[in-house]
């Protein structure tokens, strides 16, 4: 069985600021991390590797600095890593990115389609949740989104719990599949120091547009129908009403209940 986990390097938004003039991220002093949702996808992939002996390949698209997150994935137990990187990919929207990644996955799997491709449900920088589904289209493989539990047997039969607005969907099927994973799936493991030491020396395959045999008009800015007209931060919400209950908790509770009653939220 061959599992591919796609991960993305994102700015650590817990500490991010917006440039008030250009409305773009101020990246000075902001660390780059593995997109947190991708960590859950990676953990699901590692669990499949542990239980079924699958081969696990991690793929990322980005500048050369993105090798850091690939090494982190290797340190946690991935078998091999692929960096999809070229200036020609710059400015790609989700369509061009999905196309590029799908071509890279095919290339990395020797022209075949892997059994299972995992994504985080979305990236915390763009929040589009489109690349996982896009790749499933390009690979022509069934898609299951918002997976919070994956039960898989060696013959490729799976049952997953998928977190939907109307409740939990239990989906049964047979690989191949593309899945996007949510936070509730698992707690990501830590990389051991010994794991990091091996990962630091591990080779990383770099694929550019020629290596993946991409159609030049479908990659990068050229392959991106999305045009950014303007960027603006969401309007600042006014502060809520504050109830100071430090002195007297009972009064505080009373004030909150009265507030909710006024809104008709409790009777």
């Amino acid at each position: 069985m061959h599992v591919v986990v796609c991960i993305k390097q994102v700015p650590d938004t817990t500490n991010v600021r917006i440039n008030p003039k250009t409305n773009t991220l101020m990246r000075e002093g902001v660390e780059s991390i593995i997109n947190p949702f991708d960590e859950y996808a990676l953990e699901e992939g590692l669990k499949v590797k542990d239980s079924l002996g699958a081969r696990l390949t991690v793929v990322t698209m980005g500048p050369p600095q993105a090798t850091v997150i690939l090494r982190e994935a290797l340190a946690r137990g991935a078998d091999d890593a692929v960096l999809v990187s070229s200036r020609a990919f710059g400015g790609a929207d989700t369509l061009a990115t999905s196309y590029t990644i799908s071509m890279a996955i095919r290339k990395a799997c020797g022209g075949k389609t892997p059994d299972l491709v995992l994504f985080g449900k979305q990236a915390i920088d763009g929040d589009t949740a489109q690349v996982g589904p896009g790749v499933s289209e390009f690979l022509d493989v069934p898609l299951v989104t918002y997976v919070q539990a994956l039960r898989l047997t060696a013959d490729g039969a799976y049952e997953v719990d998928s977190q939907m607005d109307d409740g939990l969907h239990v989906v049964q099927g047979k690989l191949p599949a593309v899945m996007t994973v949510v936070k509730e799936a698992s707690t990501p493991r830590f990389a051991s120091l010994a794991g990091w030491m091996k990962a630091a020396k591990a080779p990383i395959t770099v694929l550019d547009e020629k290596a993946i045999e991409a159609d030049p008009i479908r990659i990068g800015l050229k392959g991106s129908p999305t045009k950014v007209v303007t960027i603006f931060p969401p309007p600042v919400k006014g502060g809520g009403e504050k109830v100071d209950a430090r002195e007297n908790a009972a009064d505080g509770v009373k004030a909150i209940v009265e507030f909710l009653e006024k809104k008709g939220l409790v009777k």
Binding site: T14, G29, V30, R189, F190, L193, A194, M197, A200
Partner: protein, 539 residues
Amino acid sequence: MSEVIKTDVLVIGAGPSGLATAISIARKAKAAGDEVPRVVVLDKGRSLGSHVLSGAIVDPSGFTGLLTDEEIEKIPCDAKCVKESFRFISSEKKSSKIPWVPPMMSSEGYPIVSLTKLVAYLGGIASKEGIEIYTGYAVTSLIEEDGRIVGARTGEKGLDKDGKKKSNYLPSEEIRAKVVVLAEGGAGILTEKLINEKNLKGVRPQTYAVGIKELIDVPAGTQTAGETMHTFGYPSDMGTYGGGFVYHVSETQVMVGYVYALDYRKAEKDPYRMFRQFKATAAVASHIKDGKSVAYGAKVIPEGGYYAVPKTYYPGCIIVGDGAGLLDSLRIKGVHISLQSGQAAATAILAELKDGKGLETYPELLKQTSGWKEMKRVRNVRASFSKGMPVGIMAAGLAWMTFGAFPFWRVGGCDEPDHEGLKKFDENAYKKEMASDVEASPVQPDRLTDVFMSGTNHEENQPCHIKIKNISKCAECKEKYGAPCMRFCPAEAYRYEEGNMQIDFSNCLHCKTCRIKCPMENIEWTFPQGGDGPRYTRM
């Protein structure tokens, strides 16, 4: 059981001294035509530099012999110190310029840096030299066999608050090394343990100060890049060694810091409040006008100087940098001596790896550095300041004029550790302190906003890394000293209410003030999960 990792050199701590040791080992080995030994550097911070903090105007003498001219040229620095002033602040409104300062105090032409960025830069150079650096791993114990340090162990990860293993539990890993370098920084836990257990103490106990710092954005066109100001006086009392700094690191950013000696006697004191009062003085306000605080941090500084330096060698192990108290206590500069100690260490380590001996020459090699000679020259300054600011200033001047010959005896003072000598809590004095609060503004955020800006974070579901040895002593302390931990902690980690000690360990900045100053010696600081703690990016 996980495999044992073997290396030639294990460096604990990826700060300036640890990285200088590593870089210097690689470069000296190459220069001698030898193979570069395996050097592993571990740090508990999440990434390179996330746990370092300094002013910092760096005396460039530390780079000599370590970096190439081209590398020195490229040190991340937006401005060099072009205009420097020393001021005595007498009150909120008044201050006066010190008309003359000893030339040895001058920093003109020195780079003003963020130590975090400098460390990241040094880390890049080390990596290119083949040094292995791994961050996010706390080294929590040393391994000793037959009277020699032979390795160390990393901390476990993935324990829950009761100490039980979680699904992502990662066991401790063992690293065996021919040489272990302790480069933990000021008040290093393993370093202090070794010093105490092996009786490596210096002539005097180490004395510390807590340094509290903010990075403040200021509007373009209002300030001059490279302008710096050092102050002493208000809001410190005359009996305590304290002072502040204002460094215009670029045209739009100012580093503002306040340093307060932890041998202070008045239990009512709150260094963080004093930091705010310092920012509110007329002397400082003009430098941060219309500004906004954007980053925060705190760290202890070993100020004891020459007489407080411990024995820096134990079989299999040496101590470099702040962990050994290598700091010029007149200028409060230590980065350059740390870098020099790393270079001295490298020479001793390479000899040890070659012949199985030579590590013991490190203390002697250290004495030959210019930094050590500086420390010797100002050896009496810090103790003189413990007799009050005026005596200290006079002693500093005399020491300079006579190249350290006067006073020729060892000045008394600083003979007791910082946690001793605290006076009884004075309710009235405390009320007076509290009455003069500084108004909140973008340059005067409150303590918790500051803590947020430090980026500090700890996995909540893990054992609390700040341990109270005996809770009943806290009641006694509250009675006697008014629970000073609630004030000296720059991160508001302690709350003592009705016989209960509430510790918000996630706020912790790893500064170690509590371990040093708790008058009951009742706080034990242990390592939280590796990778947790502050996430300084511009400190």
